[in-house]
C-alpha cells in the first residue's frame, strides 16, 4: 500500500506532480453547458442522461426542444460523458442511436469538433446543450453540471 505521509518530501512532490499530470492529461473534468441566458441553473445526472439519450426531448424550465450537441466519439469529453455519465459502451450507443433515429422518436445530436465549436454552437442557441472540458468554460456559456473525477 502507498503511504504518502511516510514518503520523503522530494518523492511527495514528484508524486503530486505526477498526479496532476495524470489528471490533466487523461481525466479532465467535463462541464455540461447551456446558453448563458438559459433559465436552467443546474441539471441532475438523470436529466442529462435522458437528454443525451433523447428520452427527454425538451430542456427543463423551457419551452424549447433540446438540441443536443455532441463531440466526435474519439474525443476525451465524449468518452467521459458516455462511459461515466450516460454509462453506455460505444457499440451500444451506436446501436441505440440507430434504433432511436429510425423509430421516429426524434433527432440525433448534432456533432461538432472540439470544445470551441461546442461553445460557438451553444452560445448561439437557447435550445442547445453540450459538453466540454471544464477548463474551457468561459462567460459565453453557462455550466449546469460538472462531471468530476472520482
Amino acid at each position: 500500500m502507498l503511504n504518502i505521509a511516510q514518503m520523503p518530501l522530494a518523492k511527495k512532490i514528484t508524486f503530486s506532480v505526477m498526479l496532476c499530470f495524470i489528471s490533466f492529461s487523461c481525466c479532465a473534468d467535463v462541464s455540461v453547458i447551456v446558453h448563458p441566458s438559459s433559465k436552467i441553473e443546474s441539471l441532475t445526472t438523470k436529466q442529462i442522461k435522458k437528454l443525451f439519450l433523447g428520452r427527454l426531448r425538451m430542456l427543463p424550465n423551457s419551452n424549447r426542444e433540446a438540441v443536443v450537441v455532441d463531440q466526435g466519439s474519439d474525443s476525451l469529453p465524449h468518452k467521459r460523458m458516455y462511459s461515466e455519465l450516460v454509462r453506455m459502451t460505444p457499440t451500444n450507443l451506436k446501436r441505440y442511436r440507430a434504433a432511436y433515429l429510425f423509430s421516429g422518436k426524434g433527432r440525433l445530436p448534432i456533432t461538432v469538433a472540439g470544445d470551441d465549436q461546442v461553445k460557438d454552437f451553444v452560445a448561439g442557441s437557447l435550445s442547445a446543450i453540450g459538453y466540454i472540458d471544464a477548463a474551457s468554460v468561459d462567460d459565453r456559456v453557462k455550466s449546469v453540471y460538472l462531471l468530476t473525477i472520482d
Binding site: 438523470k46 435522458k50 428520452r55 427527454l56 426531448r57 425538451m58 430542456l59 427543463p60 419551452n63 424549447r64 426542444e65 438540441v67 466519439s73 454509462r87 453506455m88 459502451t89 457499440t91 451500444n92 451506436k94 446501436r95 441505440y96 440507430a98 434504433a99 433515429l101 429510425f102 423509430s103 421516429g104 422518436k105 433527432r107 440525433l108 435550445s127
Partner: protein, 421 residues
C-alpha cells in the same frame, strides 16, 4: 368507438389517405429557425446473402443456392421540424423479399406521422406508425440496431407481418420513478395486410406498451387487442366445396363459414427485457396470443433468449427460440359431428373432402425451435458485418413456410452487411 373504426374501414382508402396526409400537413404553423436544421434526411440498408441446407424447406425463400434478396432491405427517412413542438416523419422501406405483393424492392410507406410535443415528457402522434408488438418493433428493419442477422423468428413471426403498422394515433409519456422511469404508450387505429394469400384486417386495433428502464436494464410489457377479419382466397375456395350440401345439412354451412374469421377479438401479450452488463448483452422476449378459440383462429406462444458479448469490435452471440401455434379445434369438431349426420362411406367425394380438410387444418398446428450462433463485426463507424448459422427444427408450414407438416429440420447460413447513413 368500434363503430367509428368500422366506419373508418368502410370509408376505405380515401379517408385513410386523408388521415395520412393530415399526418404530414397539419402544422402549417411556423417554420423552424433555418431550413438546414429543420430537415434531417437519413437512411439504412442491409445487404444479405444466405443459403439453406434444403430446397424443400425454403425458409424465407432461402434455398440450397445462394440468395441475395431475402435479407436485403433499403430504407430512407425524412424528419421535418416545423417548430419547437411540431414535427413530421416519413419512412419508406423497400425489401427484396416479403410475404405479400411488395417484394422485388417495391417502396412501402412504413411511417408517416406528425407529432406534437405537449410537454417535456409527453407527446401525441397521428399517422402511420409501428404497432408495438415487440422490443424491437420500432426498428424491425434496421439491422444495425440489433445484434443478429434478423430478429429471432420464433417471436418476430412472419405470420404477424400484416400487423406491423397501424394508421391512427398514439399518446406517449415518460413517468419518473426515482432511479427508474417508465415510458407509457397508448395507441388506437386500424391496420392490416396480406400474408401469402391471407388478407388480414384489424379494425380497430388498440393497446398499451410500457417500457421501464433502470440503469442498464430495460423491461417491457405490451398488450394489443384487435378486432380481426382474416380470410384466405384458396381456403375460401376450398370450403366452397361444402356449398352443395349446405342447404340439406346446415352443419356444412357452419364448416364452410369456419374457414374465415370475421370481427373476432385477438389479444397479443408480449414481454421482454434487455440487460447490458459490462461487455455482455442478454435479451429475452416472450409472447402469448389469444384468439377467439373458434372459426379460423389460433392461440400461440413462444419466446427466445439471446446472449452476446462484446470483444473489441466483435460480438459473438447465441440465441435459443421456441414457439407453438395451436389451431382452433372448431372445424375438426364440426367435421367429426357431421360424420354422425352423414356417415363415412355414404358419399366418397364428401369423405375425401372431409379428410383433406382435416389435414389442412392440422397443418396449422405448428411448433418449432431454433438455435442460432453468429458473430457481429463492427468494421466501420456506421457499418457492421454479421454471419450466423441457424438450426431450425419445426413442423411449421406457415411461419417457417415449409412444404410439409412433418417434423423437419434445416440449417440456414446467412451473412449481412448493415449500414446506417
Amino acid at each position: 368507438m368500434i363503430l367509428f373504426f368500422r366506419y373508418w374501414q368502410g370509408a376505405g382508402l380515401p379517408l385513410r389517405l386523408i388521415v395520412l396526409l393530415a399526418g404530414f400537413c397539419m402544422p402549417g404553423v411556423s417554420v423552424a429557425v433555418n431550413s438546414e436544421e429543420a430537415l434531417q434526411l437519413s437512411g439504412f440498408a442491409s445487404f444479405g446473402m444466405g443459403k439453406s441446407s434444403r430446397d424443400d424447406m425454403p425458409f424465407l425463400n432461402h434455398t440450397e443456392n445462394w440468395s441475395f434478396r431475402s435479407d436485403t432491405i433499403v430504407g430512407g427517412q425524412a424528419q421535418y421540424k416545423f417548430s419547437n413542438r411540431w414535427s413530421s416523419t416519413i419512412q419508406v422501406v423497400a425489401r427484396g423479399f416479403t410475404f405479400d405483393e411488395n417484394d422485388k424492392f417495391d417502396p412501402v410507406l412504413e411511417w408517416l406521422f406528425t407529432s406534437y410535443q405537449l410537454s417535456a415528457e409527453t407527446r401525441i402522434r397521428v399517422g402511420r406508425m409501428r404497432t408495438p408488438l415487440y422490443l424491437f418493433s420500432d426498428s424491425l428493419e434496421v439491422g444495425y440496431a440489433y445484434p443478429w442477422v434478423r430478429p429471432p423468428v420464433d417471436i418476430y413471426s412472419y405470420l404477424r407481418s400484416p400487423l406491423a403498422n397501424f394508421d391512427g394515433m398514439d399518446f406517449s409519456t415518460n413517468v419518473d420513478l426515482g432511479e427508474a422511469d417508465l415510458d407509457v404508450q397508448v395507441f388506437a387505429g386500424v391496420g392490416g395486410g396480406t400474408y401469402i394469400d391471407f388478407d388480414i384486417e384489424l379494425c380497430p386495433a388498440f393497446g398499451v406498451n410500457v417500457v421501464s428502464r433502470w440503469d442498464n436494464l430495460t423491461l417491457r410489457y405490451g398488450y394489443t387487442a384487435a378486432d380481426t377479419d382474416a380470410a384466405s382466397e384458396s381456403l375460401t375456395a376450398f370450403a366452397a366445396n361444402y356449398d352443395s350440401l349446405a342447404s340439406l345439412y346446415p352443419i356444412f354451412r357452419d364448416i364452410r363459414d369456419s374457414h374465415e374469421t370475421k370481427g373476432e377479438l385477438f389479444e397479443y401479450h408480449s414481454t421482454g427485457f434487455q440487460w447490458d452488463y459490462e461487455s455482455w448483452t442478454v435479451i429475452g422476449e416472450a409472447y402469448l396470443t389469444n384468439g377467439p378459440g373458434k372459426d379460423f383462429s389460433s392461440d400461440s406462444h413462444g419466446g427466445y433468449v439471446s446472449f452476446s458479448k462484446q470483444i473489441q469490435d466483435f460480438a459473438p452471440y447465441i440465441v435459443f427460440g421456441y414457439y407453438k401455434n395451436e389451431f382452433s379445434d372448431e372445424i375438426t369438431s364440426l367435421i367429426e359431428a357431421s360424420k354422425v349426420l352423414v356417415p363415412v362411406g355414404f358419399n366418397s367425394d364428401l369423405d375425401e373432402l372431409r379428410e383433406a380438410n382435416l389435414v389442412i387444418v392440422d397443418n396449422f398446428n405448428e411448433k418449432g425451435r431454433s438455435y442460432t450462433v453468429g458473430v457481429r463485426y463492427d468494421f466501420h463507424q456506421n457499418m457492421d458485418f454479421k454471419i450466423e448459422v441457424e438450426y431450425l427444427d419445426s413442423n411449421a408450414q406457415l411461419t417457417r413456410t415449409t412444404e410439409s407438416n412433418s417434423k423437419e429440420d434445416t440449417v440456414l447460413l446467412s451473412m449481412v452487411i448493415d449500414v446506417v447513413f
